[in-house]
């Protein structure tokens, strides 16, 4: 009796397992249907023949940054504009949680129609044909590409000239912000070259003031600092290490990296910087405990709010050798490009979803500039007027950025290089010898 019972239980469990395995297994059909050679040309053909878009009510799922007021402001602006042109479209917004959510949804074939995707995700999704190549859609050209600022398009395309995501923001310039009052009170000159920067770091550390508030738990922040040095001697910047164009130990990079590391040793960052988060570093700067903060220009509204007219930024990176301040001075690290709104390859309304994505990307940029006064947009703002007057720091950036040369911080786009490189940067800050850093980073660079 007992044996029979055990048998019955075993059979039931085995059947359960088989059922579960069968139910959770991924069907092979979707993989076959998302063949790149079949999906992309079809889209192109549809676009060039300008198939009329259906007018019946359509609901599209939108996975977008929609959590804080800053994000809601520009997206709400875009949705208002969209409603006027496409009243039949309703957007079902799912606030962005993380890119991992999209990865999981992609693996179960449940991607939203339109999604905000970062460069890393765009790279993975495009390789696996999860998202559409938007390059040849007529609506993308008319609703988005034609309205961009000059010179932006190459930055949002991938290296093969494909366009998988429509960037909602523009070039987010990575700037060296500083507290004017701290410099003035301590009699420290705002640096314009490496010698003056070294002197400033020494002066501040002597007075127990943090020279640069660094949020090193996010390794890309240390990378931005490092890139500020490298760009002054090698206009190619750190991205060359990821592409294999140059190595860390090559002369054009080595000197700059060495100088950056020497400053870290002198105490340029606060102690424990590798475990400091973004918010903590900003708090150091906003509370007047740190003299400088290296961050994107999205910092301006909060910085002005916290520091008022004490906030300013250095027009160029103060990392050039003395006497060579003019060399590569307009080279700036920037974010933007590579990420943005992507459209699922499995969406039922391809043309409409593409058109909506293009319009959202444009109008969200317009909303950021017009309603919120942000300058980090890649749309052409000529003729647009902001609803509120701009603060002096933003005005200064608008004037300067016309000459800035965009240098995408995409060294942190590909996780295969970015992850171990970020770990090496943290180790360097924690005291790893520079020789080890060069040896290990050189190993990471792909051979050309």
């Amino acid at each position: 009796m007992r044996k029979e019972f055990v048998k019955a239980i075993s059979i039931c469990l085995a059947l359960t397992m088989i059922l579960v395995l069968a139910a959770c297994g991924k069907s092979s059909t979707p993989t076959a249907s998302t063949n790149p050679s079949s999906s992309t040309p079809q889209a192109t053909e549809e676009a060039t023949t300008a198939t009329p878009i259906a007018q019946e009510p359509v609901t599209l799922k939108l996975y977008a940054q929609y959590s804080v007021d800053d994000e809601k402001g520009s997206l709400d602006y875009a949705i208002e504009a969209l409603k006027k042109e496409l009243p039949n479209v309703t957007l079902d917004i799912e606030p962005f949680v993380s890119s991992d959510v999209l990865k999981v949804r992609a693996s179960t074939g449940d991607l939203p129609d339109i999604m905000a995707a970062d460069p890393g995700l765009v790279s993975v999704f495009s390789k696996n044909n999860e998202i559409l190549n938007l390059k040849d859609y007529a609506d993308v050209k008319s609703a988005f590409l034609d309205k961009l600022a000059p010179g932006v398009i190459p930055n949002i395309e991938d290296k093969d000239g494909n366009l998988y995501a429509l960037s909602t923001g523009g070039n987010l310039w990575h700037l060296w912000f500083y507290n004017k009052e701290i410099f003035a009170q301590n009699g420290v000159k705002v640096p314009t070259n490496n010698d003056e920067l070294t002197a400033a770091v020494k002066a501040f550390t002597a007075k127990n003031i943090v020279p640069i508030a660094m949020y090193g738990q996010a390794a890309w922040s240390i990378g931005s600092y490092m890139d500020s040095f490298v760009l002054r001697t090698n206009p190619g910047g750190l991205i060359e290490l990821a592409t294999g164009k140059s190595k860390a130990s090559d002369p054009q990079n080595k000197d700059a990296i060495t100088r950056a590391a020497e400053l870290i040793k002198l105490g340029a960052f606060q102690k424990g910087s590798t475990s400091t988060t973004y918010d903590q570093a900003r708090e150091l700067f906003h509370s007047g405990k740190a003299a400088m903060l290296i961050v994107g220009d999205w910092e301006i509204p909060d910085g002005v709010k916290a520091l008022g007219d004490k906030l300013d930024f250095m027009p160029y990176y103060p990392t050039a050798l003395a006497g060579k301040e003019e060399e590569n001075k307009n080279q700036l690290v920037a974010f933007g490009g590579g990420g943005g709104y992507a459209v699922s390859a499995k969406t039922k309304n391809k043309d409409l979803a593409v058109k909506v994505a293009a319009m959202l990307a444009y109008y969200q940029g317009e909303g950021r500039y017009v309603r919120q006064g942000h300058t980090d947009v890649n749309i052409n703002t000529d003729g647009l007027k902001t609803e509120k007057p701009l603060d002096p720091v933003t005005e200064k950036l608008i004037k300067l950025k016309r000459d800035y040369i965009y240098h995408a911080h995409t060294v942190f786009a590909d996780p295969k290089f970015a992850t171990p490189f970020g770990e090496q940067l943290q180790s360097l800050v924690a005291g790893e010898p520079l020789t080890d850093f060069f040896a290990k980073v050189d190993k990471l660079s792909p051979a050309q």
């Binding site: 039931c12 359960t16 590798t274």
Partner: protein
């Protein structure tokens, strides 16, 4: 009772839901993890069968050894700290003369009910090299021993372990204390009549009789240490560099950051085996026979 046990249908109905959920939530993912570890797969592409290549790569990966080492350090410190201090506190509270027993018992347990995030934020503030409480105390006492607790590649893993040890010490204390309370009073009275000191009583009576409880505590502490992830994720992000990586961290890095699901699965399988072996060893050598008193 006998009638119920002979009712196989009732037993089946009552056990099946739990067995089913356990199979779906635990057994199936375990099998999947094991299966996926033989593939090169980014989670979206067509998986490529590579048999043991992921395991071979693990053996040549410096991060794997760092993670193993950190897991061992974490588990060891956690065990010594939690079981050691938990036992000492339980011995003290076992004494009748101790004043404010209830308050002490509750206060030891308070950190356990706090979330890991809250505890980590608290300790992050205390560990802050510039403005943190610990360094400030050293400064006030004119000690030169001030550290960059979380920024030092050698120190950071120990600093994080202290946080985990502190938080769940109260949990181990509660188990040990409850176990001690079940030891009959007359055994202690007999020892007292024989002239045994307090220390000797605990060494010769309490600890041996608590072997089964300690076995459970040991398993909790060691497995908790080997699988640690949350503390380092919040406090250091695995850094500086890879200095606070554990096998769980390495698995997440590979699977969800580097998009190497197969390699991450191989790390997970090693972690599972590690925990399995540790549990087997503990069960093999500690309290093999049931203690009755």
């Amino acid at each position: 009772m006998k009638h119920f046990r002979s009712n196989k249908k009732a037993i089946f109905l009552l056990t099946f839901p739990a067995l089913f959920i356990f199979s779906v939530v635990v057994i199936y993912p375990l099998l999947q993890t094991f299966y996926r570890s033989f593939f090169e797969w980014n989670g979206l592409s067509q998986p490529r069968y590579i048999f043991l290549e992921n395991y071979k790569s693990l053996l040549h990966d410096d991060i794997f050894y760092t993670s193993l080492y950190n897991g061992a350090i974490f588990a060891l410190i956690l065990t010594v700290f939690q079981l050691g201090i938990g036992s000492v506190l339980a011995f003290i509270l076992l004494e009748n003369k101790v004043f404010g027993k209830k308050i002490l018992r509750t206060s030891y347990f308070i950190p356990v009910v706090l979330s890991v995030t809250v505890v980590c934020q608290l300790w992050l503030t205390m560990y802050n090299a510039q403005f943190g409480l610990i360094n400030k105390i050293f400064e006030l006492l004119h000690f030169t021993y001030r550290q960059d607790w979380l920024g030092d590649t050698n120190l950071s893993i120990i600093a994080i372990t202290v946080v985990a040890s502190w938080q769940f010490m109260g949990y181990q204390f509660a188990i040990i204390y409850a176990g001690m309370k079940t030891i009959p009073e007359h055994i202690y009275e007999a020892a007292k009549l024989d002239g045994a000191s307090k220390v000797k009583t605990h060494l010769k009576i309490t600890i041996p009789l608590m072997a089964e409880t300690y076995r459970i505590c040991l398993i909790f502490a060691l497995i908790g240490g080997l699988t640690a992830y949350g503390y380092m994720n919040i406090m250091t992000g695995g850094g500086p560099g890879t200095s606070t990586y554990t096998l769980t961290y390495q698995m997440i890095r590979s699977a969800f950051v580097m998009n190497e699901i197969g390699y991450g699965s191989a790390s997970a399988v090693v972690l599972i085996l590690e925990c399995f072996v540790v549990t087997l060893i503990i069960n093999r050598f500690i309290a093999r026979e049931r203690i009755t008193y």
